[in-house]
């Protein structure tokens, strides 16, 4: 077993374990911290796939900005394990069973897809994930979506301020 495979399985196990911990944690602050661990594991996967730009952006935008925003809101509301609303146990069971059925269905679908056999994702190699190549494509072929993105951000900012404004 090569180092890459060991790292892949370790990061996968870490991501799935932390994702489950996000669900079972009673305290919302712990959920946020476990979600940050998930994002770090996914960034590790990006590095294994040599998508360096996305790995860094994932860390800065998700684990940095978005999760701090979540943490800030949770601390602003002073939420903790005591104030946490709980669903009925039967509702939880029904949700888990339906999610499990969804997973089972898709896994059996993938197992039957013969065109996926023998296809490999290139690890630790290939230069399409580097900033140079992504930047070239972003500012030549994808200029219009990139500029529309700035309009989207502006409208999101204005919307957040309008919604959060006190009457």
């Amino acid at each position: 077993m090569s180092t890459t495979e060991i790292l892949f399985f370790f990061l996968s196990a870490l991501a799935i374990f932390s994702a489950i911990m996000v669900l079972v944690s009673k305290n919302p602050v712990h959920s946020v911290l476990w979600l940050i661990v998930v994002f770090f594991a996914i960034s590790g996967h990006y590095i294994l796939l040599n998508a360096q730009f996305l790995a860094i952006v994932n860390l800065i935008v998700y684990a940095g900005a978005i999760m701090v925003l979540f943490l800030f809101v949770i601390m602003l509301m002073n939420l903790n394990a005591e104030t946490e609303p709980q669903k009925h146990i039967w509702m939880k069971l029904a949700g888990a069973i339906s999610g499990g059925c969804f997973l089972l269905m898709l896994v059996s679908l993938v197992r039957q897809a013969t065109e996926m056999n023998g296809r490999n994702a290139l690890m630790l190699n290939g230069n399409i994930g580097l900033i140079k190549n992504l930047g070239k494509a972003l500012f030549s072929d994808f200029v219009v979506p990139f500029e529309i993105t700035s309009v989207l951000f502006l409208s999101a900012m204005v919307g957040a301020v309008v919604i959060g404004k006190k009457e």
Binding site: Y62, F70, V73, L76, K87, A121, I128, G129, A137, I163
Partner: protein, 111 residues
């Protein structure tokens, strides 16, 4: 790494996100599970882009097949950031009006 491993990993993460949306009542946790689902899809997009690059590289070593997939992930992250800012503003407003983040309170929207 066979692409099936990535598909199974991302399906598991996505299903955990779905189970979280179905079983939790805290609006912030539900929102975080949506972020988890978005991230599972992002990881799968990158894995598929590297799979197609792997195939195309055998024909032409200087190919740039798969760049679009990674840029799509970039745009998904941008949209997710915008979505989080608006969504959290809505949750803060809900908390200010009801002093709770229980999504069952949103029931009263139907009256």
């Amino acid at each position: 790494m066979p692409i099936q491993y990535y598909i199974y990993l991302c399906l598991t993460l996505f299903s955990i996100g779905i189970i979280g949306v179905l079983t939790r009542r805290n609006a912030i946790i539900v929102f975080m599970c949506i972020e988890l689902m978005l991230n599972a899809v992002n990881l799968l997009l990158v894995a598929f882009s590297k799979m197609h690059y792997n195939t195309a590289m055998g024909v032409d070593p200087s190919t740039s097949v798969g760049v679009d997939g990674q840029l799509f992930v970039f745009f998904i992250m941008v949209v997710a950031a915008a979505e989080v800012s608006v969504g959290l503003a809505i949750i803060v407003m809900l908390y200010r009006n009801t002093h709770s983040v229980d999504i069952n309170f949103l029931n009263r929207l139907k009256n």
